[in-house]
């Protein structure tokens, strides 16, 4: 189940040809130029969980904190806040530790 998203688009957010990224098996609509983190936040998607199962979410949005890290197209620990979306991109938030 996905909770209500905690983020929404602003007026300045453009339309344009949509891109689809697959996050934990769920296709999410994105706009060109979006970061993966922003797409996930708009969709209310979960980010990584900590060792005690506690939920986490992007904190710094500039690449320093790694709270938004996920496996992107098979590459672990990729910072989704620095990663622009590409059609067909796959994102897994369950870390392979």
């Amino acid at each position: 189940m996905t909770p209500d998203p905690a983020w929404r688009p602003t007026r300045r957010r453009p339309g344009g040809t949509p891109v689809t990224v697959v996050v934990d098996g769920r296709p999410l609509p994105a706009a060109p130029g979006d970061t993966v983190a922003a797409v996930m936040m708009l969709a209310g998607a979960s980010f990584r969980r900590d060792r005690d199962g506690g939920p986490r979410a992007p904190l710094c949005n500039l690449g320093a904190c790694f709270e938004c890290a996920a496996t992107v197209d098979g590459r672990p620990l990729t910072r989704t806040c620095l990663t622009p979306v590409r059609e067909g991109m796959t994102v897994e938030t369950r870390e392979r530790r």
Partner: protein
């Protein structure tokens, strides 16, 4: 095959340095993790949805600098690449090899005769109960999500911290129709004498102060509560934030009276900035402790040379002092690199660059004095159960237990090795200040005596396979090969 200057960071310092160096004839490469130039202060929307860039008041030069940098075809620009470390090759004296990595491309090596560390800063982390809950976000993060990604928080927002950036973010959020419940500052209002001193030092910055004043008036008109001597003592909620607890600080920086609860879906934190010094640390540059300038900063001489040969520093890693100062230092660093490599730089150009640095430093000093974080008071916000190291889930109690069991531990690195704080993917960027505070409190010693976390290559996690590109014997395997400057 070798660049004259490699610049890490395309913010005000990096852009100014690259242009100044290229103007003197240097072959320059600039590397930045973001997709576009500007740094965090001038983060822009992605190129595909460009809109006119409007810098905030006080930074009238920013649009011109960005335009010049963007359109300059002499520069080699590498966006989306992370600098993961620098190495010396004994066979090539005087040349540094900068390792850079990008998801999908892997690791490459850039050879350069000078390296400029212009890596900027990030929001100062402050640990308190509940700060790992979704809904808690740093001020710079909230600002860039709205500005560059065009998304805004749903539900009520509380902003808390100690830095005037909170006012700009509050204003930005309100303009997007977000309900701001409260802006809480840890310090008191500056005293009249302090403001008079500030005004005397800021002839060129009156517009910036006026903008902040205008924002305060607007927030108050809109019914936003502005509190001083107030800190967040807890973020509460089940799976995400639903309530923030705020408490008054007394004159000695201790919380006093019961904390009050404010319902909020988002908490925006802005206590100031930590300089990004991990690349300098990895290279072995000397650091020095300067609390008001961000904590551990890279030591340098008046020509911005670090303790490591061929490595220069400019902007926030040399001490957080704002964009004007960063730009001025960047220009000076570009000229220094040119002069060191034998390109003529007229004395008046040097003198002008030095004057610009001094002028900007004067204003920065005043701002630093007014908004310096009280690290001892902030350090006390972490309770025994509070996670200090978010990555490795190390609590304050864990750290205190390590310290009690090992009475001879006196530095943060020893503490890191004995309890894993600082060993996760963020490599200590988000816990160093917290670990240092706990250590200082436990040992009753000044925070600057605990030292700083060491940094090793790679300073960002990269897949093990990528590191094979660093092995010269496996050069045939270098996936992308070396980076080379464009032909003569």
């Amino acid at each position: 095959m070798t660049f004259d200057l490699a610049v890490v960071g395309a913010g005000p310092a990096g852009m100014a340095a690259a242009l100044a160096a290229a103007d003197r004839g240097l072959r320059v490469v600039v590397v930045d993790e973001q997709q576009r130039a500007g740094g965090q202060i001038f983060r822009r929307p992605p190129p595909s949805r460009d809109t006119a860039f409007r810098p905030s008041a006080g930074y009238a030069w920013a649009a011109g600098l960005i335009r010049r940098f963007d359109s300059d075809t002499r520069l080699t620009k590498r966006f989306g690449w992370s600098a993961v470390g620098a190495l010396y090759d004994d066979d090539r004296p005087g040349v540094l090899e900068l390792a850079v990595d990008r998801p999908g491309d892997g690791l490459r090596v850039i050879a350069a005769r000078r390296l400029l560390i212009a890596t900027g800063a990030y929001d100062l982390p402050v640990a308190f109960p509940g700060w790992t809950l979704p809904g808690v976000v740093m001020a710079g993060g909230a600002q860039t999500l709205v500005k560059a990604q065009h998304i805004a928080p749903v539900g009520d927002v509380v902003l808390a911290g100690a830095h005037p950036l909170l006012l700009l973010v509050a204003d930005k959020l309100m303009r997007e129709g977000v309900t701001v419940r409260e802006v809480a500052f840890a310090q008191g209002v500056p005293k009249p004498a302090e403001l008079v001193r500030a005004l005397g030092a800021v002839p060129g910055h009156v517009r910036m102060l006026a903008e902040a004043g205008g924002i305060v008036a607007g927030l108050v008109r809109s019914g936003v509560r502005l509190s001083t001597r107030t800190v967040v003592t807890a973020a509460e909620g089940a799976d995400r934030l639903s309530r923030v607890r705020l408490a008054r600080l007394d004159r000695s920086g201790r919380t006093t009276g019961p904390a009050r609860a404010v319902e909020a879906a988002h908490l925006v934190l802005g206590y100031g900035f930590s300089p990004s010094t991990d690349l300098a640390r990895q290279l072995g540059c000397d650091l020095r402790w300067a609390s008001a300038r961000g904590g551990w900063v890279v030591a340098h001489d008046e020509r911005l040379r670090t303790s490591v040969p061929h490595v220069l520093v400019a902007g926030e890693p040399s001490g957080v002092a704002g964009a004007d100062h960063a730009r001025a230092q960047g220009t000076l660093a570009g000229l220094v690199a040119a002069a060191e490599l034998g390109h003529p730089v007229p004395a008046p150009a040097f003198a002008a660059a030095r004057r610009a640095v001094r002028r900007a430093a004067r204003f920065a000093t005043v701002v630093q004095r007014l908004f310096a974080p009280d690290r001892e008071a902030l350090g006390r916000l972490a309770t025994p159960d509070t996670l200090i190291c978010r990555c490795e889930a190390v609590t304050r109690a864990d750290l205190d237990a390590c310290l009690a069991a090992s009475p001879f531990i006196s530095g943060v690195n020893a503490l890191k090795l004995s309890c894993r704080a600082g060993m996760g993917p963020c490599q200590g960027r988000y816990c160093e200040s917290g670990v240092a505070s706990v250590l200082a409190a436990a040992r009753g010693r000044h925070i600057g005596l605990g030292g700083s976390f060491a940094a090793h290559l790679p300073i960002r996690p990269v897949p093990l396979g990528d590191l094979r590109a660093l092995d010269p014997d496996a050069s045939g395997d270098r996936p992308g090969g070396d980076e080379t400057p464009p032909g003569p």
